[in-house]
């Protein structure tokens, strides 16, 4: 079912989401590679690939634009750099002087490089750009390893509502009026607010904040609009979300959270990929193993102990996997070792045991 999604020409965007450490980046790369193998011009947007996978995809510190992956026709890869994407927007929308003021503002630097939601928003922004270029048959996005799904889906709304908010209106007013002299026309609540924040944070910080906010306001006038457009695009036909998990308690819980969230937002959930599923085991039960152990050599005894442990772990895995409620479920068997080259990505069986 997930394999069909790749070859379906109406699928334009696939977003892989899930907790950190579940093989999301590898899964996204495998999906992109296998779509490219079918002749679709595909780009994979990754966030933070492990070193060897990055090498396999030919990514380095400079790969912030799509570039062809050697030895794989139709496959392109690029890395997301949040600060750079942010800077690009500023440079594209502000005159050079204004852009310089913004880029040097301490709040801008702090916000663009480490605000918890920026990475998610910038992934959306990049996705919007890639879609607008009309160059790609398929775009595969590896989402940031957010602590929760909320971060990813909320990012546009959060930044948007911040920029629309009361605080911003308040902060931008004095900057336009030429400073904080405005206090005399404010009610006591705001006066108290202004004096408290300036005592705690230091007076200069207010000047920086208001300069930053008023600059942002002019550059990012259409910010919320664009964020909303991308959000709507994700809901539209042609987009598909894939939730990636591993069969352990916490990642499965996180996956369920994602599924609920996507459903409640009306986002098109295509299915769940469960990575690192234990391979099939020797066809003997725990009690048969114990029976055999009665007359076994110490080495065989240990081997059977290992088997019993494996059976228990696999039973637990299956119990966890059964709790997943999704339109499609794909189990990917645990590779014996790390997947970090093109051949390895190709060997991931995306047509596997769908449910």
């Amino acid at each position: 079912m997930i394999k069909d999604l790749l070859s379906d020409p109406t699928t334009r965007v696939i977003l892989c989401c899930g907790a950190g450490g579940v093989g999301k980046t590898t899964t996204a790369a495998a999906i992109a590679l296998q779509a490219a193998d079918q002749g679709r011009k595909t780009v994979v947007l990754t966030i933070d690939p492990a070193r060897r996978l990055a090498q396999a995809l030919g990514l380095n510190e400079l790969s912030f634009e799509p570039h062809a992956v050697k030895a794989v026709p139709n496959l392109y890869a690029m890395q997301l750099d949040m600060k750079r994407t942010f800077d690009e927007i500023v440079l594209a929308h502000a005159d050079p002087d204004r852009a310089r003021t913004i880029l040097e503002n301490p709040f801008y630097i702090s916000l663009s490089s480490s605000f918890a939601g920026t990475q998610e928003y910038m992934a959306m922004e990049k996705l919007g750009q890639l879609l607008a270029s009309q160059e790609w048959d398929l775009i595969v996005v590896d989402t940031p390893p957010s602590r929760s799904a909320l971060d990813f889906l909320d990012a546009p709304a959060r930044l948007g509502s911040f920029l629309d908010g009361r605080l911003i209106k308040f902060l931008t007013t004095p900057a336009k009026a030429g400073g904080w002299a405005i206090t005399r026309i404010l009610n006591t609540g705001i006066q108290l607010f202004a004096s408290t924040i300036s005592k705690i944070l230091g007076g200069q910080i207010l000047t920086d904040i208001s300069a930053f906010v008023s600059a942002l306001d002019s550059v990012f006038g259409g910010f919320r609009k664009r964020a909303d457009e991308t959000y709507q695009l994700l809901k539209a036909p042609g987009s598909a979300f894939i939730v990636v998990a591993v069969p352990e308690r916490d990642p499965i819980r996180e996956a369920e959270f994602f599924i609920d969230r996507l459903n409640s937002e009306g986002m098109p959930l295509a299915g769940v990929i469960v990575n690192r599923v234990s391979p099939s085991l020797a066809p003997i039960t725990i009690s048969e193993s114990k029976e055999l152990q009665k007359s076994a050599s110490p080495e065989l005894n240990s081997a059977l102990d290992l088997h019993i442990e494996n059976v228990r772990a696999k039973t637990n895995e299956e119990r966890l996997i059964k709790t997943i409620k999704a339109p499609a479920l794909l189990r990917i068997e645990d590779a014996d070792g790390e997947i970090s080259d093109i051949a390895g990505l190709r060997s991931i069986d995306l047509a596997g045991k769908s449910l």
């Binding site: 705001i190 408290t196 088997h307």
Partner: protein, 300 residues
């Protein structure tokens, strides 16, 4: 185990068991008789279930004998801060109303981190009956403070408070607090432990964190290698087992020994570091397992 440092910061890549190890470390101190405070700073409520609770509040609660815990929320911390320094509850409410609290705690990450580490600073330096920062040389309220810190990818930024704040707040009490916290973090009183797994990606990321922390002049503690597999003598050569079953069993054995081989290769990369290995415990961590790990840590 060396307990001379008093603020123990526990970091690690996501999925390595950072929270479990932070809890086990705190429990091991408490069981050795040290009054210990365990802090959560990411609001995930990951510590609570380990102690049979649904959540940890923003106040110190007793989790086990000698062990206290709390979840530090930047919003609450800022309100508390305003209250403490200005006795101005009204100001705090006004700030909340105008979105300043949200602003300070989400948009300006540097401020957020100062508020989160600020609690650890205050608790580490707290003396009985005195306010923090007092010169009174009595015993400390807490013998140890253990923080379940942000993951390795963010730890350098998180701990390097001064650099973060330098460009944001140039004067004022927040700035002063950042300087005091920074001093504590770079002192002998603080140590950072890294939790990892014996696999390529987590080890790589841990080594990067080691370099970063060394570059920042922050004391490095232990490297906890979690979920270590035991080396076993395994064999299935026998005439008692059906051929098909034997082949499949052999595959299971090979898989295991391959993992052990890969594990040894990864562990070798950590040779000059202070490594503590933690045996694989299965997926569900109960309080009993936590105690078991804590016992192991006490003896390590």
């Amino acid at each position: 185990m060396n307990t001379a440092p008093r603020l123990h910061v526990v970091t690690g890549k996501g999925g390595t068991g950072k929270t479990t190890l932070a809890a086990a470390l705190a429990l091991s101190f408490a069981q050795a008789g040290a009054k210990t405070l365990l802090l959560e700073v990411e609001g995930r409520q990951g510590l609570a279930p380990l102690f049979g609770r649904s959540e940890l509040p923003y106040r110190e609660v007793e989790l086990a004998p000698q062990l206290w815990g709390m979840s530090v929320d930047p919003r609450e911390a800022l309100l508390e801060y305003i209250e403490m320094y200005y006795k101005a509850g009204a100001a705090g409410r006004a700030l909340a109303k105008f979105g300043v609290i949200d602003f300070a705690t989400t948009i300006a990450p540097g401020l957020r981190d100062v508020l989160l580490t600020g609690k650890a600073y205050e608790a580490t330096r707290r003396r009985p009956g005195s306010k923090s920062g007092s010169t009174f040389e009595g015993p400390w309220v807490y013998d140890a403070v253990v923080m379940d810190a942000p993951p390795t990818g963010r730890i350098g930024k998180f701990l390097d408070i001064n650099a973060q704040l330098a460009s944001l707040a140039k004067v004022g009490p927040i700035r002063k607090q950042a300087e005091s916290i920074s001093e504590l973090i770079h002192s002998e009183m603080t140590t950072v432990h890294i939790v990892t797994l014996p696999e390529e990606m987590p080890i790589q990321e841990s080594l990067e964190a080691v370099d970063e922390l060394r570059g920042l002049g922050i004391n490095l503690g232990h490297i906890f290698v979690n979920q270590m597999l035991e080396e076993k003598a395994l064999d299935v050569f026998t005439d008692k087992i059906d051929g098909v079953v034997a082949t499949a069993l052999r595959a299971e054995v090979n898989r295991y020994t391959n993992r052990v081989t890969r594990q040894e290769k990864q562990i070798a990369l950590l040779e000059e570091l202070d490594v503590i290995e933690i045996a694989h415990m299965g997926e569900e961590i109960s309080f009993e397992i936590l105690e078991f790990i804590a016992n192991g840590l006490r003896e390590a």
